[in-house]
């Protein structure tokens, strides 16, 4: 579904991503793991058109998208829930969700998806008129995911959905991600919480300083010595 080929991205003279390649198959959850500055977020931002690659290609469903402007990439079927959630804190929950559906014109379908989001996250439905900034971290993450889903994406990219959340909330969010997969959405997940991410993933890629150093199935990576030492804190 998504194919990234020799992708390189630079901020000025600093090369953040140095020629990485990976694929995401239809219906999978794929994780990009790595420490701060490994290039995970840069990769997602390039796929969603917010950054331009210096070389390499991004193909979505067989078409090159690395020159398509950001606002059209959403229409193609890719939704990006950015790092730090990036909600619109002073707008209501409902307005946030409607912005997620910004590229859609089918009022009835949007209404339907709103109801679905409220059914999935009842807390959002109960307080739909309140400003998003007043919610707790976990609730905001739910809203960020729900907002990304409002564009009815075929590929959902989540950037560190567990950041700043309590262990219980992290579990809740990870269960939600599993549910989204079960309902047919393909997911590209960026995480620092390797344990939680790999447990869900069909495939994982480990990034170090802009390059992929390891790739395998999620289960295999969970057992891998290097991953266990570096990312799972096991001696």
């Amino acid at each position: 579904m998504l194919e990234v080929k020799d992708l390189a991205v630079s901020y000025g003279r600093v090369q953040a991503v140095k020629g990485i390649s990976f694929t995401v198959e239809q219906g999978q959850i794929v994780s990009l793991l790595g420490t701060n500055g490994a290039g995970k977020t840069t990769t997602l931002r390039t796929i969603s058109g917010l950054l331009r690659p210096t070389s390499g290609e991004v193909l979505f469903e067989g078409k090159r998208i690395d020159t398509v402007p950001a606002h059209q990439i959403v229409t193609l079927g890719i939704a990006h829930s950015p790092e730090g959630r990036r909600l619109f804190p002073r707008m209501s929950v409902e307005d946030n969700l409607l912005l997620g559906a910004y590229t859609r014109r089918d009022a009835a379908g949007i209404r339907e998806d709103l109801d679905r989001a409220y059914a999935l996250f009842p807390v959002l439905g109960e307080r739909r008129g309140q400003a998003a900034g007043l919610f707790s971290g976990g609730e905001q993450q739910m809203l960020a995911i729900a907002r990304a889903m409002m564009s009815r994406p075929r590929l959902l990219m989540l950037d560190e959905p567990s950041m700043g959340l309590s262990p219980i909330m992290t579990t809740t969010i990870m269960n939600t991600i599993a549910e989204l997969k079960a309902s047919g959405t393909t997911i590209l997940l960026v995480e620092q919480n390797a344990q939680a991410a790999l447990a869900l993933s069909d495939r994982g890629y480990v990034l170090e300083v802009g390059a992929i150093t390891l790739s395998d199935t999620g289960a295999a990576l969970l057992e891998d010595d290097r991953v266990r030492r570096t990312y799972l804190g096991v001696d």
Partner: protein, 578 residues
């Protein structure tokens, strides 16, 4: 401050009586002369016959006294629910403070106009002293919690009646205030209006009114429009006042257009007046003025459209390269653009290039509009009332303003409006949502410019002549100030802000030299005490203030068990490792 309050609150009982005494002094003062000569404040020299301004002073004293007397009675007799509807103690404090401010301003105005404190008569002194006593004493009262009148279930007819009464009062106040020739009297009356609104807010009545207004939007809009429509009938054909009113409407219409750019899309445009100027110059060159430089004179509706399009085109021209920069840079670029426009208009005088604007002379003698056989220059008598030239234009401008408001409201509610607000809040996140950031910004810029151009085409005919020096940077700054003062992104707020900023300099010619200083002070005070503007967005204000404490408590309560489980999980992992 707080120690003073603690000290005073021990004396809450006696303070009520002292405050009452002060309030009575204020009321008595209204029946005594305030000034030695009749020239100040429209004559406040009589014994026993208060002028209107003295009656207003009496009213503040009376409200203070009424609140002081009614508060303990209400506390003793009424059920707890009824008791909490109004906050009379706060009302008493506010009314007494308002009294003090009002009496002091009246006394200062008299002293300034007649030349020295010696010209003050006993009434003025008694008023200030009585109000000061009352203001100090009422500080000792228990402040209590917010009035709950706004939550009182009220039938729709009563709410609509409330709206109509308030708007009728606004009409009477506007008619009376515009008619005041004496600057001191105008300042005193304007201050009184502001203070009265503040006292009503403190008692809790304003809350009820805004709840009623929120529940009956269409009634409010209709009633406001009717009030604005009948306003010329209150002016007895006075063209002087109607010309001020027409000026206010032009300013308000322009500010409303800018409100789309600044209030919705969040683009700080400091050169917006150029679009008004472009519309005015377009209309002037297409008019039948003998000095018009183009030989083509299409009918006015078409001129309006062309003026709008010329401005919009200019908006696109300046917007497409500059909207890629953001924030402060955009402000600088638009500021420069405003100046470039003015200088260009000055230079298009034919000496070095085409002659379009006749340079600094501008285009004078623009004839009155004549649309569908109706000549805007002629006076009419409607139902016994004289309707002059400016009243005709006033109604036309009202129509233009209504059009701009309709556009604004519909955009605000639409998908496009939501996109703009998203851009204002977080541009990168909006882009990630699929919002075409650049396109929408350009649309806001060009759309706002179009509306300003339309307003400018009418302005050309109202003003009779169009010159480049009418469109200087200060005008753009005032437009932005009007929006900030009233409440960014709202309709009512911007109308109020525009009215205040346009009305004050027109009525207070004597402080022309200090105008900028005073507006600067006004804006600083606003930013300190009410950054959201005079009439902020109701929903947003609620989200920011009313629920903050409640939600913070809730969040804390939820966070505690979260922490407990997190702690348990941590110790569990430690045990595992051990």
């Amino acid at each position: 401050m707080s120690t003073l309050h603690e000290f005073l609150s021990r004396w809450a009982g006696p303070a009520r009586w002292v405050g009452l005494g002060g309030a009575v002094l204020v009321m008595v003062a209204a029946f005594l002369p305030w000034a030695y000569l009749p020239a100040a404040l429209d004559n406040v020299t009589y014994y026993g016959e208060p002028s209107i301004l003295q009656w207003l002073g009496f009213a503040l004293g009376f409200v203070t006294a009424a609140c002081l007397v009614a508060s303990p009675i209400l506390a003793a007799k009424a059920s707890p629910r009824t008791r909490r509807l109004l906050n009379l103690n706060r009302g008493a404090t506010a009314a007494a403070t308002a009294s003090l401010v009002y009496q002091a301003i009246a006394a200062i105005a008299v002293a300034l106009e007649l030349g020295g404190l010696i010209t003050l008569e006993p009434g003025a002194w008694l008023g200030v002293v009585g109000a000061a006593v009352a203001a100090l004493a009422t500080r000792a009262l228990h402040a209590g919690s917010d009035a709950r009148l706004r939550y009182l279930p009220t039938p729709a007819w009563a709410q609509i009646l409330g709206i109509v009464v308030v708007l009728a009062l606004v009409l009477v106040a506007a008619a009376y205030g515009l008619g005041l020739e004496d600057p001191g009297a105008f300042v005193a009356f304007g201050t009184f209006c502001g203070l009265a609104a503040w006292v009503l807010a403190r008692v809790g009545i304003m809350g009820w009114i805004s709840a009623a207004a929120a529940a009956n939007r269409s009634a409010l809009v209709l009633a406001s429009f009717v009030v604005a429509f009948v306003f010329p009938f209150t002016q007895n054909g006075s063209d002087a006042n109607m010309s001020i009113a027409a000026g206010v409407l032009i300013f308000a219409a322009t500010a409303m257009g800018l409100n789309i750019v600044v209030g919705l899309a969040g683009l700080l445009d400091l050169g917006y007046i150029a679009f008004l100027g472009a519309g005015a110059f377009t209309a002037a060159t297409l008019s039948e003025s003998a000095f018009a430089t183009l030989g083509w004179h299409p009918p006015f509706p078409i001129v309006m459209l062309i003026a709008g399009c010329v401005s919009a085109l200019l908006g696109l021209l300046i917007g497409s390269p500059t909207l890629r920069v953001s924030g402060d840079y955009l402000a600088i670029v638009t500021l420069a653009f405003g100046e470039i426009f003015r200088i260009t208009m000055n230079n298009l005088d034919g000496s070095d290039g085409p002659n379009i604007t006749r340079g600094s002379n501008g285009i004078p003698a623009i004839p009155n509009l004549d649309v569908f056989g109706f000549n805007f220059g002629e006076s009419h008598v409607i139902a016994g009332f004289d309707i002059g030239r400016f009243a005709n234009y006033y109604w036309l401008l009202l129509l233009v303003l209504a059009l701009i408001i309709v556009v604004f409201v519909n955009l605000n509610k639409s998908r496009i409006g939501r996109g703009w607000v998203a851009i204002r809040e977080d541009e990168r996140a909006a882009e990630a949502m699929g919002v075409n950031v650049f396109g929408l910004k350009l649309l806001a810029f060009a759309g706002g410019a179009f509306l300003a151009g339309v307003a400018g085409s009418v302005k050309a005919h109202v003003d009779v002549s169009v010159t480049p020096d009418q469109y200087v940077f200060m005008e753009s700054a005032f437009l932005v100030a009007g929006i900030v003062l009233g409440g960014m992104g709202t309709v009512g707020g911007v109308l109020v802000g525009a009215a205040i900023l346009k009305l004050l300099p027109e009525k207070l010619r004597f402080f022309e030299d200090y105008r900028l200083l005073l507006f600067g002070l006004l804006l600083i005070v606003m930013m300190r005490f009410r950054p959201e503007g005079l009439l902020p967005d109701q929903r947003r204000q609620l989200e920011f203030h009313a629920e903050d404490d409640e939600l913070a408590e809730e969040a804390d309560a939820q966070a505690l068990p979260d922490l407990a489980t997190a702690g348990a999980a941590l110790s569990a992992t430690k045990e595992d490792r051990a």
